[in-house]
């Protein structure tokens, strides 16, 4: 027989288990030969007949996967929903956290803010690539390996036991991934802004050092505390996403943290301790730092107003979320 059939069979046999090979080769060789002979008996040229027979049998690796009972997909419909769910959860929570931690470590290690930003973005990207790769690789193995049949059946069974209790809340109640990521980015930008304004390049003193916007004395006390409160708020946002909705407990903690941020800021502004007088001087607007000046009054009013609005908004969502599954707000619907 010619090399075409040999090459075809070699390609098929490569893709099937060792124990099946001899049997499959014998069966296919005789079948192909018989089919070719039927065609040549009908007047076809031998090489053309062989080509036609092999091409009708299709791509060897596809046939091999079919013979070996292997799936043609990386992750099939039975596992796909669970796969997507796990991936979204990991990406939405892990990536921003890794980015923030890496950036914070860079800052703590003495890098400037651009270094920290670059390190944070790089860290987040690396984390995302690793998560996608390892989760996908794990699921692809579970989909294929015979030894994983038990695990596969478990996942399948678990994902089929669906009840209406698992329905997600309506969009105005649910805390989505996009919303959480948005909040995390806002928090990161706020913290980054506070750190950046510690040494902006706008004004310099006679020694050539930049003049910070915030009162330098605050670094010994209030500013680190405010940054810690912001980080806690970001963590709370992640929790609300994991839980899927704002409940009474989360809304209460949220209110405490918001107050813990707004009250010190407003008090510092009104007592004239927030803005660095040297900065206001250099800006040519000394009244900026004055606690009784219009700028600080406006700032204090804005902070208090926005905070009150945020607290009310979250409590309202917690209330709607409790109402949407018929439970009172106070029972804590986590």
């Amino acid at each position: 027989m010619t090399s075409l059939t040999d090459r075809y069979l070699a390609a098929v046999l490569r893709g099937i288990p060792e124990r099946q090979r001899a049997d499959v080769e014998r069966e296919f060789r005789s079948s192909i030969e018989e089919a070719v002979q039927d065609r040549t008996a009908a007047g076809e040229e031998r090489l053309a007949a062989e080509k036609a027979v092999l091409e009708a049998m299709g791509e060897p690796s596809r046939l091999a996967a079919d013979l070996a009972g292997r799936p043609f997909h990386l992750i099939g419909p039975d596992l796909f929903l669970v796969y997507r769910h796990i991936l979204v959860m990991l990406l939405a929570t892990g990536v921003p956290i890794v980015g923030l931690v890496v950036a914070a470590l860079k800052l703590a290690g003495g890098g400037d803010y651009w270094d920290a930003l670059a390190a944070g973005v790089g860290g987040a990207w690396n984390a995302a690539v690793h998560m996608v790769f390892w989760v996908t690789a794990t699921f692809a193995v579970v989909e294929r390996a015979d030894a994983m049949r038990g695990a596969r059946d478990e996942v399948q069974k678990a994902s089929r036991q669906w009840t209406v209790d698992m329905l997600p809340a309506l969009p105005n109640v649910r805390v989505g991934a996009g919303e959480m990521v948005g909040e995390l980015v806002t928090t990161s930008l706020t913290i980054g802004g506070i750190l950046f304004l510690q040494q902006p390049a706008w004004f310099t003193d006679e020694r050539g050092d930049s003049i910070p916007l915030f009162n330098p004395g605050l670094w010994d006390g209030w500013l680190p505390i405010l940054i810690a409160v912001l980080v806690a708020l970001a963590a709370l946002q992640v929790m609300a996403f994991v839980v899927g909705r704002w409940n009474a407990v989360l809304a209460f903690v949220h209110a405490i943290l918001q107050v813990a941020f707004a009250v010190p800021v407003a008090w510092l502004a009104l007592s004239g301790a927030l803005i660095n007088p040297a900065f206001a001087e250099a800006l040519g607007w000394p009244a900026l730092a004055d606690g009784t000046g219009p700028a600080m009054l406006l700032l204090a009013a804005a902070v208090v107003g926005i905070t009150a609005w945020e607290i009310v908004a979250v409590f309202r969502r917690a209330g709607r979320s409790a109402a949407s599954d018929g439970r009172p707000v106070t029972s804590g619907s986590a």
Partner: protein, 117 residues
């Protein structure tokens, strides 16, 4: 005017499930792969080599077919035969097929109650 590709797709979908039944019925008389392909074609249920060979192996693995190599003739051939279990399955599937056909006819005629008994 109905799209011929659409018809072909649905036709294939409809026939796909019947290949197993056709094999189990045909192989109550022992046969080998290539012979079975020709038998099915003659019977009006044409199928492809790359469908039939993997299918034969799967059915054998589940004990619905049994196979034996015939080396008496010049060309060795792997003969498959429907097992008692396979024959029982074929009976059930054939009954199912007839029920389905009856139901479809009833739907088409609009009087399913007449066919219930």
């Amino acid at each position: 005017m109905i799209d011929e590709d659409l018809v072909a797709g649905h036709r294939q979908e409809l026939r796909r499930g019947t290949v197993v039944l056709a094999c189990l019925l045909a192989l109550r008389t022992p046969g080998y792969g290539y012979g079975l392909l020709k038998t099915l074609e003659t019977a009006g249920i044409p199928s492809d080599a790359n469908t039939i060979y993997p299918l034969l192996r799967r059915l054998e693995e589940r004990g619905l077919l049994v196979s034996v190599w015939n080396t008496d003739e010049s060309r060795p051939r792997k003969f498959y035969r429907t097992s008692p279990q396979g024959a029982a399955l074929a009976d059930r599937l054939l009954a199912e097929m007839n029920d389905l056909t009856a139901s479809l006819h009833a739907l088409n005629g609009g009087t399913p109650h007449d066919l219930a008994d």
